[in-house]
């Protein structure tokens, strides 16, 4: 078991190495010379001398592998370089926006959990009833609705027609009023996925023989469902919640951009628009590290949540 965890942890290294190559080479996937493109302004093409000076300053005159190794070496020492555009340290910008993303994700997660777990349980208990059908339909709609569209519907209703909430922005350090709409938008698909998983996991648990044992003891249905079935059914759901936190990052891209939330998703979109390559490289690598670490934690925690696997861990 320890061996599994060790192997699982070590495997992160090649994956992240691969990610570093991918994110680094983004610059060279694009057609054209990055220095020239970056220096091109509305006033016209830059002078060859200016381009050359920029290349030397940014180290773009070196062979690619030298650039890569230097970049990687710097990153391993915590230096993500400077933004091509603002010339601010990349890491500071990433870290600051990641905090905003984390804040939004946690609130989204909270909303999605308080909606989805009860709905999933309800659907499972009322299996094959109209309630169940409605929950399943709602969950399907939830994963099918484009979040950028949903965002506009919410803005239209709550900000424009009802004028209850601000259209967009971070407000006073990301206050609740500014957070509600983006958090709902971001949490919808996660809620939908969790509802479905909770439902099927609960149905699976309720069909087990130990449920009959629990009923045969004379336990009330509340205890049978709320204790015996739920304890088993929650194991995959809790695991999935960890993964969902990672998938929330996906939704953050569009959601943050629309709501002007200063998170890492919006940062990446803007950096791509501006061809701010050091920022793109740094953010992609940073997100990958977060994502991979999260998945690792989920994997390991899974083995400890389930006593059957936990037991094997002792061997």
């Amino acid at each position: 078991m320890l061996e599994y965890i060790a192997r699982r942890t070590l495997l992160i290294i090649p994956a992240l190495l691969f990610v570093s190559i991918i994110s680094f080479s983004m610059v060279y996937l694009a057609p054209g010379d990055p220095a020239e493109i970056l220096l091109t302004s509305p006033e016209g093409t830059p002078s060859p001398a200016a381009v050359e000076a920029f290349r030397v300053r940014m180290g773009l005159d070196q062979p690619i592998y030298v650039q890569y190794l230097r970049w990687l070496n710097n990153i391993l020492h915590g230096d993500f370089g400077y933004s091509y555009m603002s010339e601010r340290p990349v890491f500071d910008a990433i870290f600051k926006s990641f905090k905003a993303t984390l804040k939004l994700s946690i609130v989204s997660m909270f909303i999605s959990v308080i909606v989805s777990i009860p709905l999933g349980i309800l659907a499972a208990i009322k299996h094959n009833s109209a309630t169940d059908d409605l929950c399943r339909l709602g969950a399907l709609v939830g994963v099918s609705i484009p979040n950028f569209w949903q965002a506009f519907l919410l803005i239209l209703l709550f900000s424009i027609y009802l004028d209850w909430l601000p259209v967009a922005g971070y407000g006073d350090g990301g206050d609740l009023r500014h957070m509600i709409l983006p958090a709902i938008t971001l949490g919808t698909s996660s809620a939908a996925v969790t509802t479905r998983l909770m439902r099927s996991s609960m149905l699976e648990a309720l069909s087990q023989d130990y449920i009959i044992t629990a009923r045969a003891k004379g336990l009330s249905e509340k205890v049978v469902v709320g204790k015996h079935a739920l304890k088993n059914a929650l194991i995959p759901v809790v695991t999935m919640l960890g993964l969902n936190l990672g998938f929330l990052l996906n939704g953050a891209v569009v959601t943050e951009w629309i709501f002007g939330w200063p998170g890492i998703g919006g940062l990446v979109v803007d950096s791509i628009y501006q061809r701010d390559y050091t920022m793109i490289q740094g953010s992609i690598l940073f997100i990958a590290v977060i994502f991979v670490t999260l998945n690792l934690i989920v994997d390991i925690s899974y083995t400890y949540l389930d006593p059957r696997i936990r037991y094997e861990a002792k061997d």
């Binding site: 099918s144 569209w149 424009i160 996906n250 791509i272």
Partner: protein, 276 residues
């Protein structure tokens, strides 16, 4: 009699998909207007008899654009998933069947791709390659193929040591024969289920990329980019946003219904049991 849910889901999903395919194929016959024809005298008009879904900021018929948009979305969805499926099938099969170093290399590659959240990877690739339909599809394939490779590999691992495969090998059957005759037919059903849902997901992701300006470029009618251009007129003409978004949702929903129904149909766990 009440239809069983699984059949009902397949039925609903299938009918909507059929309708969409029909609309896409016969778009010129179904659409009331030319989707790119701008009527500058009728800009941002709300739905009317002439323009059932209204017009956009250039006075183009939104209904016609939504109808033509079906073509791009279905094309992207089906192309991306077919290509991902093919890559996943080849690499997943090689990985699961041969094992050893081949498996190790392929799985590390998969790990690498999966290490970046899919929307970020697609966005970064689409951004790096530059806007356009083909580049967007390449970016989406790069994101999608890994799940097929994993599912195929997993299914093959679970099946390759089963008795009928071992017996076949004992009778002198070769690798190709065993793969095509015994293994592939057995892994096809989980693959069909995730591919069906994958089409919906690819359409959703493509619309997102186009919305951000990394996919299909105007004036080609595409749902995501229609939403993007409607963004600025949200207060004045909300109908521009409503219909393309609805079209995306219904299309994705249809594929999800279909995939959901197929899964229930193929998953023996949902069959009824009587105590014995």
């Amino acid at each position: 009699m009440r239809l069983r849910t699984k059949n009902r889901n397949i039925l609903i999903g299938m009918s909507i998909v059929m309708c969409l395919v029909f609309i896409a194929v016969f778009a010129p016959l179904v659409a009331p207007h030319d989707p790119t024809e701008a009527d500058l005298g009728a800009r941002l008009e709300p739905p009317s008899k002439e323009y059932p879904f209204g017009t956009d900021h250039l006075g183009r018929c939104i209904l016609s654009r939504v109808i033509y948009g079906t073509r791009v979305s279905l094309l992207v969805g089906v192309t991306v998933i077919s290509a991902s499926l093919l890559i996943g099938l080849v690499l997943g099969t090689a990985s699961g069947y041969f094992g050893g170093l081949v498996d190790e290399v392929i799985m590390r590659l998969v790990d690498g791709f999966l290490a970046i959240p899919s929307m970020f990877l697609a966005l970064a690739l689409a951004g790096a390659l530059g806007p356009g339909l083909t580049n967007m599809m390449i970016a989406l394939i790069a994101v999608e193929w890994t799940s097929y490779a994993r599912v195929v590999r997993g299914s093959i691992l679970s099946i390759k040591d089963q008795e009928f495969v071992v017996a076949s090998r004992g009778l002198g059957a070769g690798d190709v024969y065993i793969l095509t005759r015994h293994i592939l037919p057995n892994i096809i059903s989980p693959v069909i289920v995730i591919a069906t849902m994958g089409v919906g997901y690819a359409i959703l992701a493509a619309a997102g990329l186009s919305f951000l300006g990394f996919g299909v470029q105007p004036p080609t009618p595409e749902w995501g980019s229609m939403l993007d251009s409607g963004r600025l007129f949200l207060r004045k003409a909300p109908h521009i946003m409503v219909f393309p978004g609805l079209a995306i949702m219904i299309t994705v929903l249809a594929f999800n219904f279909l995939g959901d129904g197929l899964r229930d149909e193929m998953d023996p766990r949902f069959r009824k049991e009587i105590p014995h």
